[in-house]
């Protein structure tokens, strides 16, 4: 069943936040069109882009027909509230107020603790390397320690559960891209050391929507 609306996404195939929105679209069964911004990352600081797309010069930007929204987690929530349950059975934000609250709490743990710890390493190992710089071993060591502490907590959270809030939700989805990059950056041992976390990541990366997302990101 094809959805008649037009969803257009401005972003890049190697942007964690763009990949996050693509995954959300895939999980909800939505089709979309990805338009990379001409001129690449540097052009995100152009006056035009700042005035018309994202005032802080970031990707992604999503257009749902004429409605424009920025900031990947805000975009994901919007897509969930508008489209969840309409094209398939996937529920990203539970309808029950209390379960939704716990999902939001977990989303916040992701922004406050999980992602920042990994970003330190990913910045060094992937983005700095791309610019021709050598990763700073001190920053990487510190990053690894932080990730280990965070994953200790996540291992407890996941005890007896398949996903962070029991059922798959936006809280898990949001963390897929950055976790994937940590593995590409060759720090997967940190996840493998924790039994619950290891199983959780295996489950996430084997989801159909994630596999399709990686395809789209590669071809972007």
């Amino acid at each position: 069943k094809r959805n008649k609306m037009t969803i257009r996404l401005i972003g890049f195939g190697n942007s964690v936040c763009t990949i996050r929105v693509i995954l959300c679209l895939k999980e909800l069964g939505l089709s979309y069109k990805l338009t990379p911004h001409a001129g690449g990352y540097a052009a995100l600081k152009d006056k035009d882009y700042l005035a018309n797309e994202h005032p802080f010069g970031k990707v992604p930007v999503l257009y749902d027909d004429k409605f424009k929204i920025t900031e990947s987690r805000a975009i994901c929530r919007y897509l969930a509230f508008k489209h969840q349950g309409k094209h398939n059975d996937t529920i990203l934000i539970p309808n029950d107020i209390h379960e939704a609250g716990l999902t939001e709490q977990l989303i916040s743990y992701g922004s406050s603790y999980y992602s920042p710890a990994i970003e330190k390493i990913v910045m060094q190992e992937i983005y700095e390397k791309d610019k021709g710089k050598t990763p700073d071993p001190v920053v990487i060591n510190q990053g690894r320690k932080e990730i280990e502490e965070v994953l200790n907590v996540y291992d407890k959270i996941l005890e007896g559960k398949e996903y962070l809030n029991g059922k798959f939700s936006l809280a898990d989805l949001i963390l897929c891209p950055i976790t994937h990059y940590a593995h590409i950056a060759k720090h997967s041992d940190l996840w493998d050391k924790k039994p619950n976390v290891k199983k959780w990541w295996n489950r996430l990366k084997n989801r159909d929507a994630w596999k399709k997302t990686l395809e789209d990101a590669k071809n972007a």
Binding site: P55, E71, I75, R77, Y78, I97, A100, G101, E104, S108
Partner: protein, 216 residues
């Protein structure tokens, strides 16, 4: 009453939740932990908030009857879902999915761009009482860039999304400490739209009630 905040009435996160409760008209109590160190006790970590750093564990924690929830913005979203429209007419997150999406976008701007440089300065200078001229210089540059964007965002608008919303609420508590306890209010006041916006939100009755409760 069933709603209880666990925390100290000086933490910007706690103050944001208090403001949210006042705006929604929800009665609540505050329970102060024994100390900042107590936030790292085994019991607190196991039953209230599982994260901590070198300084302390995390607050606020909200207890609503048997239900416990942490993380300021998650708590506020929960309170809006549960209580908005029940005690008064105040709308913090619009019911329309598009307007709600934009409020969420502005909350993300607050979290990603506004609060980090403001909080860094407030924590160093106001809470840790450290004088760091280098930090002031970097903070001024960063904050100025952000406020330039806000100046444009607020053009022709009273609030970030046109009408008062949770997005405006979440900007208040850290900014309050800039105005009450530093010499940097000028960085906000020299931008006319930003100044008017700050005057508007900081003069709300509900915020004044929160300020009265600050234990600093």
């Amino acid at each position: 009453m069933t709603v209880k905040i666990v925390g100290f009435e000086v933490s910007p996160g706690v103050l944001s939740v208090m403001m949210c409760l006042h705006e929604l008209g929800v009665p609540y109590q505050i329970e102060n932990p024994a100390s900042w160190q107590a936030l790292k006790d085994e019991d607190f970590i196991a039953n209230k908030h599982p994260f901590y750093n070198n300084y302390s564990g995390k607050i606020p924690v909200l207890c609503d009857g048997d239900y416990t929830i942490t993380e300021t913005r998650a708590i506020c979203r929960y309170l809006v879902s549960k209580y908005q429209g029940k005690y008064n007419d105040t709308i913090l997150i619009p019911n329309d999915v598009h307007k709600a999406g934009l409020v969420d976008q502005y909350i993300s701007y607050e979290y990603s761009y506004y609060t980090p440089p403001v909080a860094k300065l407030v924590v160093e200078e106001v809470f840790h009482k450290t004088s760091n001229p280098e930090l002031v210089e970097t903070s001024q540059k960063e904050i100025d860039k952000v406020l330039n964007v806000y100046e444009k965002l607020l053009n022709g608008k009273e609030y970030l999304n046109g009408e008062f919303s949770l997005a405006d609420v979440l900007h208040i508590s850290y900014t309050h400490f800039i105005f009450s306890s530093t010499k940097y209010a000028d960085w906000w006041n020299k931008k006319p739209n930003v100044k008017q916006w700050w005057d508007r939100i900081s003069n709300r009755d509900c915020w004044k009630k929160c300020v009265e409760k600050i234990k600093f």
